[in-house]
Symmetry: C2
Subunit: 95 residues, 2 copies
């Protein structure tokens, strides 16, 4: 079922979910967190956010980090691969 004819298709699919573009955008400015996203993204639900974060992490756009501080929590940081997408997204905005 794999189709590698279109080289950009993988990236496109990866960012095509209902919430992923917004999560990615937020992750561009600062590390994102599960419950925080749930509050920020109006209309989103746990399941969808969990799935989006997992898939973004599996595809190395985000890096999951357990922060051992005050209120022990988990952060998702933009990876180097993720950062390399930023200028591409910016050029998309002006079309």
């Amino acid at each position: 079922m794999e189709n590698n004819d279109c080289p950009a298709e993988g990236l496109l699919k990866l960012l095509s979910g209902k919430w992923k573009p917004q999560i990615f955008l937020l992750a561009c400015s600062e590390p994102v967190r599960f419950n925080s996203l749930l509050r920020q993204l109006k209309g989103a639900n746990k399941q969808s956010i969990a799935t989006a974060l997992r898939e973004l992490e599996e595809n190395d756009l985000l890096i999951k980090i357990v922060v051992k501080e005050k209120p022990l929590h988990i952060e998702y940081n933009l990876s180097e691969k993720g950062k390399s997408l930023i200028p591409i997204f910016q050029s998309l905005e002006n079309i």
Copy 2:
């Protein structure tokens, strides 16, 4: 239901369908046609191709042209907006 927070989201959604990336890729090298796509894209069906072409046209990535030649037919050409996406797609390929 509209969400304009993420400026690249529209483009992303527009190219997120099952067949659109492949159709767009083909349209980059030459004008595409309905029945021709139906033969080239293994597993695709009329309905999906018709929908993809319509949406790509509605969003000004493709331009529908009735060619009044030998076997009267319809061509979908890449628009200027569509052409401006090519370098962006190329940069996506190398990530």
